[in-house]
């Protein structure tokens, strides 16, 4: 008798209120006393979560046509330029776009303020055409006055990421936070054993079309993320030991919450955005249960020197060591600090579990798997 389950069978159990749903941490706790085979029988869905700075994010917005209409060719929201090279009144708010008069304010703040229901000032100009005669407009908009406002993030939820240090004699301000000189600290930005793509490292259940938690509402995996990389070295547990796979995700920003989408500014780096993502993993069979048993001590990552422009890898560390707060490296004890909120990641995994238990969230079988052989090209200057 086959011990595997299908997406449909699990969805039927969810609909009947019979599904056993655990967060990734609860699953790992329970798995201490049960084999993967037993776990596959006992548990139907495991929820994962992550909440960290994800620069490659943004939102499409359709501003609506005024009368007389305008072909918006240059657009700003609260003086932050947005990409308007998409038809007359569509625009893309890039999260890392910066206000020319305030380097600490940018696209991420616009997205957060719109999600919060606040008004922002729209300024747009166009050359004026026969069909779009208006040449300029200035008005206020909010998420209720516009047509569509949906988040579309090209690269989120990195499957692992480097731990950052600084070997120079000067403090370095980076997207990995403030790195103190002479290996004064080490930062990391993955929720470890709670992280979605570390619990399904070969994407057996996550693919294009997967329904997910995105920013406080439901969203979808829309594509493999940019810089999707399956060719990174893996450790004995099948986990890539540096930044590897990524997700492109989409969801209705009008329904999102600022609890799970927060604008950020990293000193001397720039604007970024914290995004909350949760992914349910159906426990289809013993192999998936085995993958879900992965623990922080088995997830390794490279220690990378952000003081050196070439970012060389200096060694390896695992997430049990990173989360302990102190790592011994080259004979020196280095304090560690996360940049990705484990508190929020847990909250997301728990909310997603509750949605499924309340029958409000069904699982989607991917309509297409991710690429199996993918690497990242550098930009060659020629």
């Amino acid at each position: 008798m086959s011990s595997s389950k299908s997406f449909n069978e699990i969805n039927e159990k969810i609909a009947k209120g019979e599904a056993v749903v655990l967060t990734a941490e609860e699953f790992k706790q329970m798995a201490k006393n049960s084999s993967p085979k037993e776990m596959a029988k006992k548990v139907d869905v495991v929820t994962t979560g992550t909440f960290g700075p994800m620069c490659s994010s943004g939102a499409f917005i359709n501003l609506g046509h005024p009368q007389p209409p305008i072909r918006m060719e240059k657009v700003s929201l609260n003086d932050v330029p947005v990409c308007s090279g998409v038809a007359a009144v569509d625009a893309y708010i890039g999260a890392t776009e910066v206000c020319p008069t305030n380097e600490k304010y940018g696209g991420a703040h616009i997205i957060e303020e719109l999600i919060a229901g606040k008004d922002v000032i729209l300024k747009a100009t166009g050359k004026g055409t026969d069909c779009y005669p208006r040449k300029e407009i200035e008005t206020r908009i909010n998420k209720d006055t516009v047509n569509e406002f949906f988040m579309f993030n090209p690269r989120n939820a990195y499957q692992n990421y480097a731990a950052a240090v600084n070997t120079t004699h000067k403090i370095k301000y980076t997207y990995m936070g403030s790195l103190l000189p002479n290996l004064g600290n080490m930062t990391y930005s993955t929720s470890g054993e709670l992280s979605p793509l570390l619990n399904d490292p070969e994407f057996r259940t996550i693919g294009i079309g997967t329904r997910i938690f995105l920013g406080g509402t439901e969203g979808f995996v829309s594509w493999n993320g940019t810089q999707f990389n399956t060719s990174k070295p893996k450790n004995e547990y099948g986990i890539p030991t540096s930044n590897a796979a990524t997700l492109a995700v989409i969801g209705n920003a009008k329904n999102m919450s600022t609890q799970f989408v927060r604008a950020a500014y990293f000193e001397k780096y720039g604007v970024s955005i914290f995004i909350g993502i949760g992914i349910p993993i159906p426990v289809l069979d013993e192999d998936i249960a085995h993958r879900l048993c992965i623990l922080n001590k088995n997830i390794e990552t490279n220690i990378v020197d952000y003081g050196n422009p070439e970012h060389p890898a200096l060694g390896k560390v695992n997430y049990e060591q990173l989360q302990s707060g102190l790592v011994t490296f080259n004979g020196k004890e280095i304090r560690t600090a996360p940049l990705s909120s484990i508190f929020k990641a847990r909250e997301i995994a728990t909310i997603l579990k509750d949605w499924i238990l309340r029958k409000e969230f069904m699982l989607n079988q991917p309509v297409q798997p991710f690429p199996v052989n993918s690497s990242v090209k550098p930009l060659i200057i020629r």
Partner: protein, 136 residues
């Protein structure tokens, strides 16, 4: 007990051996946490003094007699806790361990009494939730 003070020096006091006098005349251990002293200009010093109130009071009186403004800075760094997402970025730079992560809840803990007001957390917080309060 340890107390922190923000000392503001008028331009004509900067050359006085203030710290020497605190140690020699008042027998007070002094740690300098931050200094911005430029002879001929106004200066600022952030110090931590160890001693009971009755020992510290004459020292403070001495400083004030030298026209040095002394402001207690016990709670100088203010965190807008309600907006915190508990990412932990601030803990990366907090040497005095005023900011630490609770390893069970993974929430940020702020022990104001450990704060040496170095100010590194202000730049480290990606949400800009720390502020310096000089008026305490």
């Amino acid at each position: 007990m340890k107390k922190r003070y923000f000392l503001s020096f008028p331009a004509n006091t900067v050359t006085e051996p203030i710290i020497y006098n605190l140690v020699k005349k008042f027998d007070i251990p002094v740690s300098i946490l931050k200094a911005d002293i430029n002879p001929g200009n106004e200066g600022n010093l952030l110090v931590e003094m160890t001693g009971e109130n009755q020992a510290l009071e004459p020292a403070i009186s001495y400083l004030e007699s030298q026209h040095i403004k002394c402001v207690s800075v016990l709670k100088r760094v203010h965190l807008k806790k309600d907006s915190c997402v508990h990412c932990g970025a601030c803990t990366a730079v907090c040497f005095s361990e005023a900011l630490t992560m609770d390893k069970k809840s993974w929430k940020l803990k702020f022990f104001a009494e450990n704060c040496v007001a170095c100010g590194l957390c202000i730049k480290a917080c990606p949400l800009g939730l720390f502020e310096m309060d000089f008026l305490e």
